[in-house]
Every structure is written in structure tokens, then in C-alpha cells.
């Protein structure tokens, strides 16, 4: 068993909005080992990005974190001082945002933005780079992100680049500081499928070469199938299932995961699959019991009263569902 790198326990995140409080994340727990590739799967709005932003401590101002333990290498990120956080962000964890167009500052050249990142990440390890060294490092990072003509990219503004190029620039920026863990938030969703595929291949190649861990977020199980070692399935702010990738595909346990797998259209025909009936619950008044209860075809009386806890169904396959005991 390898060492645990990131351990999230009892993560709750609420949002204060006009008219009440949205209780989005409910007791999220996940674990990432060193050099492990983890996937976080769930539909839009289920709290995947919020979980990652909580880990990076970049939640918006109206977020409330009533309870959270986020250990990185044994240290609680929630209790870190500003300088410890800075060290963490500059040297250990990095995040690639979902939309590269929004993640790049529109009024500065890539050179301005990337140079700052390179300079400060190196300053953190005691290296004060000269302008020439900064440029060399920036070019190296762009090459690593498989961008041709790095010099031209440096002199461009974000709006002068294509979507795929922007995402690669964001990857290059993340590579400057992702020495332990890379968080990739749906890194190809805003791009077309061929580019998305290229980006995913690139990321896989990079994390395998650099032997860093990665959390890959996606709304599609298929997209992570050939990539990650382990999958967490998230529904309405709760982790509902966790297992090795092959187990999830071979034997999904949670009714939601089953529904997700069944919702993938098959090349062999049979028309468009039905999908999962119903809608994501209202975060302002979430069900007291299991949050999936309103859409679940196996719902039992207990599901409405009590929240299911994660139980081990054997072979490290965990599921939060009363169908499997308790």
C-alpha cells in the first residue's frame, strides 16, 4: 500500500445565497495516494469543482465551510497559514480549470502571466531566476504541454490562441507547480472531442512521466476509463461509490452509478438510452436521508430517514447505499 498524499474527510461546504443557504457538499471524503490517478465523476452541479476549490482554498466569498478536514501529507490545509498555503500552491498542488478562456487573464500576454508563475514557484525553492532563465523555463513548460512555437505563444494574448492552445497554456502553468498533485477539472469539456482526447492523453503522459498524482474530474465515466486507477462517483454533494476503475465498470453497486453507466449511448445501436429519471435535489432543502432517494428505483423506507454511510463491499469497493448492509 502506497502512502496517502491527500486525505479529505468530513468536508461540508455551504453557500449563502439570496433566500437561504445551499447545503452543497455533504460529508465528502476522498483519498489520493502518491502517484495515483483518481477520477471524480458526477453530473454537472454535483459539487465536483466545489470539492476541488475547497482543497485549493479558493472558494468564493459566499461559501461557508462548517466542517472540513483536508490533510495533505498529514497537514490540515484548512488550518494552514497564508505562507504555508502559498508554499503548497507554489510547490505541491496545482489546478487546471475547466474553461481555459476564463482561467487566463484576458488583458495580459501569456508571457506576463506565465513568467510570474515561474518566478514565484522558483522563488519558493530558493531560486531567484534571471529574466533569461525565467524565459527558458517558461519555454520548457510550454514544450512540455506540447505547444509548438512557444516563443510565439508567449507573445500572444489569450484571445489570439485557439481553445486547445489555451488549455495547453493552462496545463503549462499548472506544471510549474504541480510537483505532487495535479487537479484537472474537466480539462477538455469546453473543447471539441478530438482536442479533448489529445488533452487527456497529454495529461496522462505527463503524470506518468513525472510520477505525480492526479485528480481528474469528469461528468462522463467513459472519458476516464483508460486513464485513472480509481474512481469516486459523486451525486448531489455526496460521494456515493468508490472503487478501482475496472470494478466500477464490471460491477457498479450504487443505483446512481448503474444509471450513469446505462446512460452511455452504445455504438452497437439500440437508440438513445433513457438516462436517470428525475432531477438533482434542491440544495436548499436536501432530503434528510439519502440524497438519491427521489430518483432511486430501489428506494426503501430507511433511505428516506437515514443517510447511508460508506461501507466496504469487499476488495476496497466502497458504496454508500442501504442495499449493501447496515
Amino acid at each position: 500500500m502506497s502512502n496517502t498524499l491527500l486525505n479529505v474527510e468530513e468536508l461540508h461546504v455551504h453557500f449563502k445565497v439570496y433566500g437561504g443557504i445551499l447545503k452543497v457538499l455533504n460529508d465528502v471524503a476522498l483519498k489520493v495516494n502518491e502517484k495515483e490517478k483518481v477520477g471524480l465523476i458526477g453530473e454537472s452541479g454535483c459539487g465536483k469543482t466545489t470539492t476541488m476549490r475547497a482543497i485549493m482554498r479558493i472558494l468564493p466569498w459566499n461559501a461557508i465551510v462548517p466542517k472540513a478536514k483536508i490533510y495533505f501529507k498529514g497537514k490540515n490545509i484548512m488550518k494552514m497559514s497564508d505562507s504555508e498555503l502559498k508554499k503548497l500552491r507554489r510547490g505541491s498542488i496545482s489546478m487546471i480549470f475547466q474553461d481555459p478562456t476564463a482561467a487566463l487573464n484576458p488583458v495580459f500576454k501569456i508571457r506576463d502571466q506565465l513568467f510570474d508563475i515561474v518566478r514565484y514557484t522558483n522563488l519558493e525553492v530558493g531560486k531567484n531566476l534571471s529574466k533569461k532563465e525565467t524565459e527558458e523555463e517558461a519555454v520548457r513548460l510550454l514544450r512540455e504541454a506540447a505547444l509548438p512555437e512557444p516563443e510565439r505563444i508567449l507573445d500572444s494574448y489569450p484571445f489570439q490562441l485557439s481553445g486547445g492552445m489555451r488549455q495547453r497554456v493552462c496545463i503549462a502553468m499548472a506544471l510549474a507547480s504541480a510537483h505532487d498533485l495535479l487537479i484537472a477539472d474537466e480539462p477538455g469539456t469546453s473543447l471539441d472531442v478530438t482536442i479533448e482526447d489529445q488533452i487527456l492523453r497529454l495529461l496522462k503522459q505527463i503524470v506518468e512521466e513525472k510520477r505525480t498524482s492526479i485528480i481528474l474530474i469528469s461528468h462522463a465515466l467513459g472519458a476516464v476509463k483508460g486513464f485513472v486507477d480509481r474512481v469516486y462517483v459523486m451525486y448531489a454533494g455526496c460521494i456515493v461509490e468508490s472503487a478501482s476503475t475496472s470494478d466500477v465498470f464490471r460491477e457498479p453497486l450504487h443505483p446512481y452509478t448503474k444509471g450513469l453507466l446505462a446512460a452511455v449511448p452504445k455504438l452497437t445501436g439500440g437508440g438513445v438510452p433513457e438516462g436517470i429519471k428525475g432531477r438533482v435535489p434542491d440544495y436548499m432543502n436536501p432530503p434528510i436521508g439519502c440524497r438519491f432517494v427521489t430518483r432511486c428505483e430501489y428506494a426503501m423506507p430507511i433511505c428516506e430517514r437515514k443517510q447511508p454511510r460508506m461501507i466496504n463491499a469487499g476488495n476496497n469497493h466502497e458504496v454508500a447505499c442501504f442495499l449493501y448492509g447496515e
Binding site: 503548497l88 500552491r89 476564463a102 487573464n105 510570474d116 508563475i117 519558493e124
Partner: protein, 341 residues
């Protein structure tokens, strides 16, 4: 396109705008009821004298011909004689304009120095008591017109507290510095006359601050909302997630995109400043363009009316060119689109 070509093009457009403006105001001034010749001479002036003045002013010619004569004179450096001062309007304007420009300049300095930091602060502390106070004052500043502030300042600081002078540009007995730019503060600094400089500043503070309050409130509000908007943008969160220092994020990555709307609005605010300056000048007995302009309108001093409006238009046009250049320097997208045209 290079900046110089861009500027040349903008200035070219401005000439057309100003010619359009001159046609408009020239016609408007002349179609209003009232005979300027009769108003210029005394009510008991003999008919032949009035008729002679009308001839002299070419008021008996058709309107387009009158305009062409005016245009010809304008290009040879004369805006025609004022019926009130009996001098060339251009001479009058060069005498009164510097006082108004100085007032506007100081109002702008107050504006930039206060609106941007206040807006940035309120935006960063959004929905806290700091922000609420700023928003409260901003509402007051936006809704109350400048002349009300001018009267309040005059009463409170000039009359009750007596901490600042309220009349004119200099205290009685203080010699005006030799005219170089016409702006007393600058001229006194150039000639090294420091006490005159201080006296001039003390006279400027109340009127220019009264004038600036509206734009300060307006621009602080705009800066605040664009800071709030940008703070939640992914690119700011990304900068934080890369561990950049807070100061650098705020002063570089947050400030630049946040200031673009503020500076654009500033161009419009300069125009309203010119308008409000007329009233504020009257209240503080400021020897600027306002008294000249107001008398010109009351006495139907045709050439003076056209001259004052043209100069106001020119100042507005120049201010907007400067604002557009600054915005295009701040925002590469605007720069590339504008200059690609």
C-alpha cells in the same frame, strides 16, 4: 495599426464632429427669437444704427452664407467680435478658459485619486461595513448635483468654519504670476512663487472638490462592481491557486481589467464636469468661462455663444481621445479591434 496612425485617424474624425457641432450651434443661436443687434445697442438706439450693426454682423445674409463667412474667419483664426466685450471671441476665451481648465484639472485629480482607491477597497471588502459606507456615500454623491455641494461647502467651510477662501482664484493683494499657461498653480510653480501657489491651491480646493464629488461617486461605484465581478472570475482564482503574492494579484491581475469600465465612464464624466463647472463657477465667483458664457446667452451674443460651445466641444473631444487611448492601452482586445478598422 500604430498608435500614431490611430491618433491621426481619431483627430481626423474629431474635425468632422466639430464642424457638425458648429453648424448646429450656429443655426440654433440664430433661429432663437430676439434680435441680437437690437439687444446689443440700447433699447432707444435709432433704427439706422441697428440696421448698420445688422449689416456689419451680416445678419441680413442667408444662413448658409453667414455660416461660410464664419467658417472662413474661423480658419483664419478669428471667431468674430463679441457684442458684449467688443473684442474677438477667441481673445476672450483665451482669457477665461485657463481658469475653467484649472478647475477641471483639479477636479479630475481629486476624481482619479479618490474614485479608484475607494472603489477598489469597497470591491475587495464587498458586503462588509466598509462597502456599505462607501455605497451609501456613493448614492448621495450620484444623486445630489454639484451646485448643491458647492453651496454646502461655501456655507460650511467658507462661512461657518472659515477654513478656505470662497471667492475667486487668488486672495486680494496676491499678485497673479506672469501668464505662461494661464493656470495659476502651474505658472506660480514655474516662476518659483511658492506662496502664490499655496494661495491658488486653497482657492481651488472647495470648488474643484464640489465638482468632483459626483464623478467620484459614480466611478467608485463602477470600480466597485467591476472589482466584485472580477474577484470571482476564474483568472483571479487561478492566480491565487498558483500562489502568486496577494499584492501582485490585486495591483496587476485584478486592477487592470477592473479599471477599463471606470476609465471609459471617466470620458463621459468629463463632459458633465464641463456643464456643472458653469454653475459651480458662478457660486464661487470663479472668473472662468461660465460668466462669459451665461452673459453671452442672455445678451444673445452670437459669436460668443458659438465660441463657448465650440471650445467646450473641443475639450470634450480631446478628453475622449485621451480616454480611448488609455483604454486601448489597458485592453489589448479593444486595441486590436479598434485599430484593425
Amino acid at each position: 495599426m500604430r498608435l500614431t496612425t490611430y491618433l491621426a485617424k481619431r483627430i481626423g474624425y474629431t474635425v468632422f464632429v466639430l464642424i457638425g457641432l458648429s453648424i448646429l450651434i450656429f443655426t440654433l443661436a440664430r433661429v432663437l427669437p430676439g434680435d441680437p443687434a437690437r439687444m446689443a445697442l440700447s433699447p432707444r438706439a435709432p433704427e439706422w444704427a441697428i440696421e448698420r450693426l445688422r449689416e456689419q454682423l451680416r445678419l441680413n445674409e442667408p444662413l448658409p452664407i453667414q455660416y461660410l463667412y464664419w467658417l472662413r474667419d474661423a480658419f483664419s483664426g478669428s471667431l468674430g467680435e463679441s457684442l458684449v466685450t467688443r473684442r474677438d471671441v477667441l481673445t476672450d476665451i483665451t482669457e477665461f478658459l485657463p481658469a475653467t481648465l484649472e478647475l477641471l484639472l483639479f477636479a479630475l485629480i481629486f476624481d482619479v485619486a479618490l474614485a479608484i482607491p475607494i472603489g477598489m477597497l469597497a470591491g475587495r471588502k464587498a458586503n462588509t461595513w466598509v462597502d456599505n459606507i462607501v455605497r451609501g456615500f456613493a448614492y448621495i454623491g450620484v444623486t445630489i448635483p454639484a451646485f448643491v455641494f458647492a453651496i454646502i461647502f461655501l456655507l460650511v467651510f467658507g462661512y461657518v468654519l472659515q477654513i478656505a477662501p470662497t471667492v475667486g482664484r487668488l486672495s486680494p493683494g496676491v499678485m497673479s504670476p506672469p501668464k505662461i499657461t494661464g493656470l495659476i498653480t502651474i505658472d506660480s510653480l514655474i516662476t518659483g512663487n511658492f506662496s502664490t501657489f499655496v494661495d491658488a491651491i486653497s482657492h481651488l480646493i472647495l470648488p474643484s472638490f464640489a465638482l468632483a464629488l459626483g464623478p467620484i461617486a459614480q466611478e467608485a461605484r463602477i470600480t466597485r462592481s467591476s472589482v466584485v465581478e472580477n474577484l470571482n472570475k476564474d483568472y483571479i482564482l487561478a492566480s491565487i491557486s498558483h500562489g502568486l503574492p496577494e499584492r501582485r494579484i490585486i495591483l496587476k491581475y485584478l486592477m487592470r481589467p477592473s479599471l477599463i469600465p471606470t476609465i471609459s465612464i471617466m470620458g463621459l464624466d468629463i463632459a458633465s464636469l464641463m456643464g456643472w463647472a458653469f454653475l459651480v463657477e458662478s457660486i464661487f465667483n470663479w472668473p472662468g468661462m461660465s460668466r462669459y458664457g451665461i452673459i453671452a446667452m442672455l445678451r444673445k451674443d452670437l459669436n460668443a455663444i458659438v465660441g463657448v460651445v465650440m471650445v467646450t466641444g473641443l475639450v470634450f473631444a480631446i478628453a475622449n481621445i485621451i480616454v480611448d487611448v488609455i483604454v486601448s492601452l489597458l485592453d489589448p482586445r479593444i486595441r486590436m479591434i479598434e485599430r484593425a478598422k
